[in-house]
């Protein structure tokens, strides 16, 4: 097995980009990553694209449409996909392209353009349900996650105030992020609790905003990494896992699939005590409770302990275990697959020490990023470490 290094990252502004097409967003992110690493288009051996449902762009075989935006014309190019988990899964695929020895340099691009959906991207989610069992209930995602949040609160006796703290923390963290869509330095718990109720117990400010954007990462074989940087960041471990389609048949209070993926990644990285050995985390936070849920799934705390850590300030940027120092999806925005930007690219920037205002104090050596997808069933985990 080859060791895999990360040598460049790029990320566009997260907004509703009505003027740019998906290709153009991919191009912007790709260009930034190439300039960051000092590579030219011809240096790239293979390309991986991550993009969530085709229905957002309204283009069948969306991956094919994005080829020229991601510097992949004439190159081996593949699109991988597992719903919301794609943002962390695409870099995992990039890892195996290089770790296998097939590619020396692999570019990973993640693009999402939800703004094409009229009137709201939620309409594209009408077709993610089982046509016979679920669709007659006319479900929608907020409705579904309200059930999961309720279950999580009920099992552990968690108050909404504790969960609102996550929104406050992440939206404040996002203030230093140049790509952020919903940063707010003055937000309070009351603001979150008093925002409109979408489906109890989910309030408007508990939800990350739909967005358009793209992010890119460049992976490189350890043997040649000295050509590009003296201070490489390595992929320490990867893991991914899926649970049953039948979301009705499992207890929603704990994401077992995330735990399974995390165990796979920790085993690869030879981590025995994640809470002690991992310096910071970027769990997927499309809803405020999900950050807590995923912290428990990542085995970074005991079941039901995540709200306590949040209340005690452990997960603040200057805390003992900084969580979502980027501002996460709640603060920076949620263009499904392009959240690779706040998750995996953020690990790279933090470990490299170039995160600017978002930089974690101290000397972070190892970080974990996680995403979650499909109908509450997919966990994807990646660990990056410094040199």
């Amino acid at each position: 097995m080859k060791e895999v290094a990360v040598i460049g990252a790029g990320m566009t502004l997260f907004r509703r980009h009505l003027k740019e097409t998906g290709k153009e967003l991919s191009f912007l992110a790709t260009k930034m990553a190439m300039e960051d690493s000092g590579l030219e288009k011809d240096d790239i051996d293979m390309v991986v694209m991550g993009s969530a449902p085709d229905a957002f762009d309204g283009i069948h075989m969306k991956g094919e449409n994005l080829i020229d935006g991601s510097a992949a014309v004439g190159k081996p190019y593949v699109r991988v996909f597992n719903g919301g988990g794609t943002g962390v899964f695409a870099p995992i695929a990039g890892w195996w392209h290089v770790a296998s020895g097939v590619a020396d340099i692999c570019l990973v691009v993640c693009e999402e353009k939800m703004g094409n959906c009229y009137p709201h991207p939620q309409t594209a989610f009408r077709h993610i349900w089982d046509p016979i069992l679920d669709r007659p209930l006319t479900p929608n995602l907020v409705w579904l996650f309200a059930m999961e949040m309720n279950r999580y609160m009920t099992v552990h006796g968690i108050k909404k105030e504790d969960i609102a703290l996550v929104s406050v923390k992440n939206k404040r963290n996002a203030v230093g992020h140049p790509c952020a869509q919903l940063a707010d330095p003055n937000i309070t718990v009351e603001d979150v609790l008093n925002s409109e109720i979408m489906a109890w117990p989910v309030n408007r400010l508990d939800i990350s905003p739909p967005s358009d954007g793209a992010a890119a990462l460049i992976f490189c074989n350890r043997d040649i990494v000295h050509k590009f940087t003296d201070d490489p960041i390595y992929v320490a471990g990867t893991g991914w896992s899926i649970d049953s389609t039948m979301w009705t048949n499992r207890d929603l209070y704990f994401p077992r699939y995330v735990a399974q993926a995390a165990k796979m990644a920790y085993k690869m990285a030879k981590i025995e005590n994640p809470r002690k050995e991992i310096d910071f985390a970027e769990p997927y936070d499309p809803f405020s409770y999900k950050e807590l849920h995923h912290l428990e799934g990542l085995l970074l705390c005991k079941k039901g302990e995540a709200p306590i850590l949040t209340r005690e300030g452990v997960t603040q940027r200057d805390g003992d275990l900084p969580v979502c120092p980027s501002g996460g999806l709640l603060g920076v925005g949620n263009p499904i697959a392009a959240t690779m930007g706040q998750k995996v690219c953020e690990l790279y920037w933090q470990l490299k020490g170039v995160a600017g205002k978002r930089q974690i104090p101290g000397d972070p050596r190892i970080g974990v990023a996680q995403a979650w997808g499909d109908i509450m069933q997919m966990g994807t985990v990646i660990l990056l470490r410094r040199g």
């Binding site: 080859k2 094919e64 080829i67 899926i242």
Partner: protein, 415 residues
Amino acid sequence: MTDRQVCVIGIGFTNFNSITPDIQWKEIMYEACKKAYVDAGIDVRRDVNSFITCAEDYWEGFSIFDEFVPDQVGALLRPCCTVCGDGLFGLANAYMQIKTGHINIVAVEAHSKISDLLTFGDIMLHAFDPRFERPVTGPVERPNYGGSPEYTPEAPKPLVGSSDEKERIHPYFMAGLEMQHYLKTTGTTEEHCAAVVVKNKKNAFFNPYAEYEAQISIEDVMKSEYLFKPVKRLDISPNVDGAICFVLADDRTAKNLGIEPIYLSGFGYSSETPWLGTRGMNAGYATISAKMAYKMAKIVEPREEIDVVEVDDRFSFKELQHLEALGLARPGEAKQLIEEGALEINGSIPTNTSGGSLGVGNCFEATGMQKALEIVMQLRGHAGKRQVANAEVGLAQAWRGIPSGSGAVAIFKRG
């Protein structure tokens, strides 16, 4: 650990049928996977480390098809993902996963349940660039941003859903353009292409799972009507439903299981520009992927070293075009090969012995898998009446279909 080899240890497939209204996509996937696990002699819940499905959302009719995969392939709480591409792209990713040294056994599944689609042509049209290319195919319902559109008796609502709509051109027109180019630049005639149809539909008689076998003559093909001139009705491979599963493993695991492995010794894939207007018409994707695969499999003289070939023949001329692009024939030479009978089962380059897409049917993302399946059966010596004598090395090639410019090649060798 990168010196470990990757081999096929199990194959499973369903029968291929033109329509399957009685079963769900989950059922055909289950059948193919179960057969593959039995073939490999493994317990899926204990032994398989990773699962890959090759699917596109729009073909399946879902927004996130990945959700509907794990149960029937046995992937609960296991690594599982979707590769949006042909089955050969899935095999390539499985190869890379195994080569990392962290994963030993991978199951790759691809299927077609295309008969569920009522709007085949319109879905395909959705793969064209919405701004520049879709309008080329004729009047499409205009987006109405102000609310629901108003239709008058003089300008009624277009028949959305009918691919045969008179005023809209079916995306297969691309094949017509490309065939014209191919015929003109190589001096191939429509009769040569018709001979491909005759050969493949004849081969399909010996293939129990093929759906579209037929005893026809070149005249029959020439008499069928032009749909996208010069493409005639019988030049097009008809759609088919079915599922295929491969189990791949590293050579040591295969040895421990006591299986005589078929090695996946090389693969290649490549994409041309998505812009139809600036793309070449010579299957450049096949040339680049073949180059990559030959290098990986250490093949110098493909014509000499490869014993059996399965190339994409979703349109009859594509078989000839792909043979040239793969370097198995010189440019313009393929017409001679089909004339001389070199592409027959007992010829010098046995091509599409399974019946190809013309004989088996167009199985969309499973097309490459069907090609690879035939190669593995040939190398195992399990191909029955269509067996090629002494087959040691085989090549499978597939293209992602209109309007894509992506394709893949896989090379298999007997252990």
